[in-house]
Symmetry: D2
Subunit: 312 residues, 4 copies
């Protein structure tokens, strides 16, 4: 039934983009610069809009205007309520066959609900959450985890490829979100786990740099030990070696672990470590010393060493 | 003070080996075959002794005889009480300068205690626990994590190199054990974490093989996802694809997590995830369905799917 | 604004009751027998309706009919979706001033949403979840935790008093549910905690009956130790002494812990023990041996003793 | 064999007391004043000794002197190593039949080891840890949990009764300690659980005083909710209403949870909630804001409210 939709769309037509924040801004910029697309953009922040406009994009007055003029629309929004609100506006003007690519990280159940609402208007919704931070968004090297109809995957890729290096088809709509929150739950567990481990070793007289080297050559190896080590000085280029500034914030990790917990409770899946990782990051989030730091500051939290100055 | 010891020892002299079990047997065999060493061995199991004897080793009647004749002695024993018992016998006959290399996995505090007792007799104790299973022991590709005086490290390597591929100097005596239990605690956390994660994804409609592929290319990557995946069929050569038979048993993982917990309690180090991993493996260990299976059966435990037949 | 509503209602008028299950059935019966009320009832199960009818209640054909004829309506339904569905029907016919007393255990956020929908129709919604099981429902000795406008509390009590022994005013609408899920989270924590404790003591050689007696006279005392002890034989009249049959089921406890987890995640409240209690009951719920047993079977789950026959 | 021992002892003979700290001091004082006993005391702190001496006790120069002159000796020491050290001295001079009553809180395994050493000298060791703080020690209303031979229980009571209100016979030697650490593990779980619960309710709009009242009348009731409530102002006479000063310190609770964890690991008993309670109190203990406060400050820790002034 939806098979014919992609053929309706004009590959050379306008592409819409809603949500020009820290991530969305550079993503939209890549569509303009690398994709040479005719972009119609919207954001509540005028400054963000002006930046894109000066690069060649056109500014829309409201989301509904974007949907009225574009048959491919990318959205990049902070959370589920924003997505619900924006799409209720978009769907008032969207033409049948319009392809919506939502790059926000939201509850998979909300993604499925959006897909149903879109289907009622004979439009297509695909969830395409990203992996990679502001740096990858700027460089156009994000990874996209995409859920939605397989016969629209090529159409999705034709837009996403200008913003990222990899596109992972995951399955039905919502599974892009599932992949994202599952990866991030595992990331939270690994980071907290390696922080506990390196702190334990340190208290028992084993240098964290030496222990990291051993673990990286052994079965405890993980991305959080070999690429994003949480102990200051072990890897020079990551946030832990820069006062835990920048990177992926503790509050964002807490948000993603909350989404994982919600999905696990709803699907009756046991997640003993995911739950405790969630609770521990919850405590860090409510502590002003860690709330706005990189999530690898779990090491500083557990070690109780003075790794973060009090005035920060 | 101990500096001169290694020069006393005869590089061509007899080497002792005590503990010829599943791991110790093939390790001793490599000293005979690859190392071409004159080996004096002891074990309570006569069959194990005969096997080594037929390969060229000499059998000792008791541990004290081994210490009386050898200035380098390797021990590979099941747990702390065995180590305490064997060394109380060894030290009755050991000559000053004897080098003891203990490859058992034991409490770091017991290793330090042994080192003190050895020092009273002017002998050297180094803890050298191994990473890698029976296969690596047979192939001579184990990794050794070694704690003890740095000026004896070369002497230790001259024996260990015939049994393993890597030797990691860790620091003072006991830190070899610390490295071992820290790595294995992280391993237990990773394995339980990835099991939770892949089960959660599966219940939400995402194929574990697809999710594993995504995680392996992203920040949730770990040895338990990319090398030893716990979901049957994702990697064909690991225990999960063979009914969780073989590999590293649930009860052994539980033992190591118990050592980590003891060390953490004694050193007042917080290990929230390590504690819950310990408790979860504890529950698996008391369930006959999981107790003798590979530790990756955590996936079967959490998913409650019929991955392990009831009769097993 | 709502102040005048209670005066509109006729104290002698018909009272509606929707949901005549294990709990709702005996509750409605008490309104008829003890309250001598003229009851209009609805349930999808005809047998349940007949039972009430033979006691003097009138049967309605659908929920909307109940709301059309009654200005006081009690609802007792299994979960949030049922409540949402029934009220969407009730509100099509309800007159302004109608008082809805919802005794279901649901998400506090859903209770607040229902209250808003009711307010749009100028009717009153109060959440009145109960404490106590089928026995207390039959005896009319339930406790009600009530959230809603304080000037309607007397009107609520005039109905609830025939079904229960205590009415606790909690605050704004939704706080009745908050009280219920908070109490039950604490109950789940206590029960699991005392089960761990008595099992640990038992393994260390201390008779659970003796330990229970000591704890009951000391600072570890709780309802789960002194009134509902989970070890068979310590208290003869509770489910643990009857093969863990009857009582408050493991799956119901898991549901309530899931509601507590959802509320904690949404309100960003740390609940480390509540999360682990949730995860442990989650595992019990997916095990056929424990799923339909009383929640005190946590002791049997942890002790791994053969307290529940395999055939059960 | 030991049956005749109690008859050897002189009920009117000297009684020894070693360890005159915060708890031991007032306990010894009660033996002098209420028990009218002829007391021979020892402590490393001269001031503590002087206080007892001025009340009528005699000072000994060393522990061995106490054992040489008394056939009943009470010990009250900080931890296992102190106990091991003091008894190694006491046993050099103790006469056969001497009754040792150790009121310290230590590892049950150490109590059993002490009993064996005492038996070798044909003396009796009973473990008698106490419940109740400095107030109860002064008032003579402690509870004693006593492990050891049942035919010595009367002899033990004849001393303990002047220091406490209750004596609970628990079973074989070591079970007194088991009862103590089991009760305190349950206490730690209850306190942390009720703190989570009241904080969750508070964030959801339910007054902690109201919620406490409801829980105290329902199935979530526990000593930590109805007698020692952790929310300031709910009960005026407990530490939470006095800036969490006094009471039972966070570090002491952490010590007891560590003993429970050690005993659980050694006996292979699962304690999921006990482990997380231990880890959470571990984190509190390493935070200067909570380390020296009453253990009910778990509420302040979780709520992140400014319940404890920064300067404290």
């Amino acid at each position: 039934m939806f098979r014919c939709f992609s053929s309706i769309r004009s590959a050379s037509g306008k592409v819409g983009f809603i949500g020009l924040g820290n991530m969305g801004g550079p993503m939209a910029m890549n569509l303009v610069k690398k994709g040479e697309m005719d972009l119609l953009v919207f954001d509540v922040n005028q400054e963000s809009v002006d930046k894109l406009a000066s690069a060649g994009a056109t500014a829309a007055a409201e989301p509904a205007e974007v949907a009225a003029e574009c048959d491919r629309v990318v959205t990049m929004l902070p959370n589920s309520p924003h997505v619900e609100s924006v799409y209720s506006s978009l769907l008032t003007t969207a033409s049948p066959g319009t392809l919506f690519l939502d790059c926000s990280t939201i509850d998979p159940a909300v993604a499925q609900k959006m897909a149903l609402l879109c289907a009622e208007k004979r439009t297509i919704f695909m969830d395409c959450p990203v992996s990679g931070g502001v740096g990858a968004a700027t460089a156009g090297t994000l990874s996209f985890m995409v859920g939605g109809p397989s016969d629209e995957m090529e159409a999705a890729k034709s837009v996403l490829e200008f913003m990222g290096a990899k596109v992972f088809p995951c399955g039905d709509v919502g599974t892009g979100q599932v992949a994202k929150i599952c990866n991030n739950m595992m990331l939270g567990i690994s980071m907290l786990g390696i922080s506990e481990t390196l702190n334990l070793g340190n208290r028992l007289g084993l240098d964290p740099a030496v222990l990291s080297q051993i673990i990286n050559a052994a079965s405890g190896r993980c991305w959080s030990s070999d690429t994003y080590n949480p102990v200051p000085g072990v890897i020079e280029t990551v946030p832990s070696s820069n006062g835990y500034k920048g990177g992926f914030g503790t509050t964002l990790m807490t948000k993603d672990l909350g989404l994982a917990q919600d999905a696990a409770t709803a699907s009756q899946s046991p997640i003993p470590l995911g739950s405790i990782a969630h609770q521990t990051y919850r405590q860090m989030s409510s502590n002003p010393k860690f709330a706005d730091k990189d999530f690898s500051s779990a090491y500083a939290f557990l070690s109780e060493e003075k790794l973060i100055p009090d005035e920060s």
